[in-house]
Symmetry: C2
Subunit: 355 residues, 2 copies
């Protein structure tokens, strides 16, 4: 089977509308439904597709509704159409159980769960983009009864969206996101939760480390309540592991036992090294080059022209500047082997740099 459309999108929030835009970009006919007439109008207006009519016969239905309603919406789509049905939810086992309880085995064969690893801090169709999934991992998660044809069609959808597919079983997927997404989210929430009542002069010492650790804790608590609840068993597993390590840490501090403390810290370093590079490749050693830049838009353009001339690939950038000061610091993250060349090249063009 080849993905030729029409593709129906159920729920035109950030993810649904982004999938719709990617399908439109590929020239497919896209049908839209949403409980909110306003979202439907907005998504149509953005060129994401046209409202579905009763005569439409989709080839593929993509369900993009919140976790609490996911299973029912997938079952409804399987019963209403003869299409292959997928979803883009953050959890896979709980909605699958709802689907298998609600539909015939033959119909369930047309269902293949999926989960693109993209953008959860923004929301709504206005935040959507056909480029949202470009180069991101996209988990394609068949259940035991999924047909090969259905899996192939969902693989095609992920490829059309520019994503890199990762094949996992529903149980493995849920354990994986419990560890790589839900645990870090909840740890960030616990750290941030310890700040709300702290004295202001204590918080004046907040640095970039605190901001990095707690950033995700600012996300929509209503959505995260649904995500964590839907994956409660796997989440309880990793929270239990964290609690055990926290107790080990507390015991080491109480007894003043340095090797135990060092061991916990060393395991953390090993964990950061286990995270693959941005696009699934091995993590390459990076180094930061800092450049002092007069806080003025033209200077940033001049810096990037000079960075371009150095022919060093920039992996990431951070700007740290204070509107009240004339100079800001720009941090350029580059491959370790290229850092000295970049520094020398920028220094020779009159920039003040340090590592």
């Amino acid at each position: 089977m080849t993905l030729t459309g029409p593709v129906e999108i159920v729920g035109v929030g950030l993810l649904g509308t982004s999938v719709a835009l990617a399908c439109r970009r590929a020239g497919l006919d896209v049908l839209l439904t949403d409980v909110s007439p306003e979202h439907l109008r907005t998504a149509s207006g953005l060129g994401a597709g046209r409202p579905r009519t009763d005569d439409d016969r989709p080839q593929l239905v993509v369900v993009a509704v919140p976790p609490d309603h996911l299973g029912e919406a997938v079952a409804e789509a399987l019963q209403r159409t003869g299409a292959v049905v997928t979803d883009v939810g953050s959890v896979k086992e709980a909605p699958l159980r709802v689907v298998l309880a609600a539909v015939e085995t033959a119909d369930a064969a047309r269902y293949v769960g999926s989960h693109p690893m993209a953008g959860s801090e923004r929301s709504g169709p206005l935040a959507a983009s056909s480029a949202l999934f470009d180069g991101r991992p996209w988990a394609v998660v068949p259940h035991e009864g999924s047909s090969h044809e259905a899996v192939a069609l969902v693989d095609e959808l992920a490829a059309l969206c520019g994503a890199a597919t990762v094949r996992l079983s529903p149980a493995d997927h849920d354990r994986a996101v419990a560890r790589t997404s839900h645990l870090p989210h909840l740890a960030a929430v616990l750290v941030a939760g310890r700040l709300a009542d702290a004295p202001a002069d204590h918080l004046a010492l907040s640095g970039q480390g605190l901001r990095d650790v707690t950033r995700v804790a600012g996300s929509d608590p209503g959505l995260w309540e649904q995500i964590v609840s839907a994956n409660d068993q796997a989440v309880l597993g990793v929270l239990g592991e964290m609690r055990e390590q926290l107790d080990t840490l507390i015991a080491a501090l109480v007894s003043g036992e340095r090797p135990g403390l060092h061991d916990v810290l060393r395991r953390g370093v090993a964990g950061t090294l286990a995270i693959p590079g941005k696009h699934g490749g091995p993590a390459r050693p990076m180094r930061a080059v800092f450049v002092a830049v007069p806080d003025h838009p033209g200077e940033l353009a001049r810096l990037f022209a000079d960075v371009g001339a150095s022919e060093v690939n920039i992996e990431d950038i951070h700007i740290d500047h204070d509107p009240a000061r004339p100079v800001g610091l720009v941090e350029l993250l580059v491959e370790e082997t290229r850092a000295e060349h970049l520094r020398a090249s920028l220094e020779s063009r009159g920039w003040v740099t340090h590592r």
Copy 2:
């Protein structure tokens, strides 16, 4: 008393050498000491100052040695010289206890602890910069017996380094960093520690949130063992609070009690909002503008020229690109009220943007 030098730096690692460079920039005579002759040569070679001789009479001594040796080194400097003595360590009560036990009350009056909130991931004199403290918070932490003159001199040092002073008592300082620095560090370590043994196909789902939460966990475990041990009582306090909240979270998940879960998540959101803006001002609402950029150095320079022409101040930048793909995504973080103007300006110059 005015800071006229000479300033002696004990320990020429990242922080010590950076303070030395800032003092040299201000025209002060700087004297250097370090147990490592190689570090001493490197720091001198960088123009950070000259090795101290027995005839030198410093006005101010800055002790920048690891936490385990801080108290002794401060006491030694108080006994050897008639100078005001400060330090740049991450913890203040434990070394103060060592100092007060080792020296006369009259000598202890010349000691004022301090703690610049800057750079702990890089280390060594080669990573130093006179700009390291620019615009950063710098805690100046007198004890009850510190003289006003000594406090004023340390305030002057922080100002000379371009930092913004925050006055705290030793106990308050240690409680503040336990919450804003040591707790987030240890939480990141616990999350990262759960990754090292995870299957590779689980880690393939790692996203930016996981990278942000765990980044600081990659820091030197030897240094952090010393920092956390030196602040064990305050750290145990916040770890106990986190454990209590973790138990609340686990209980809510076990019982399926949604309001309890929602409450923990909401407290996290409140905490992220309590963190002050980058330079101590109130946090301003920010919005991200995403721009698709051909993955080619010249294109980045062209983008920044066009950003400059839009006259919108860029707060931060992230680049997400894959060497194997022709297009990368650049995320420009700007004040919420300026986002639409920036988008329109860039679109009119031919860039593809989304929010």
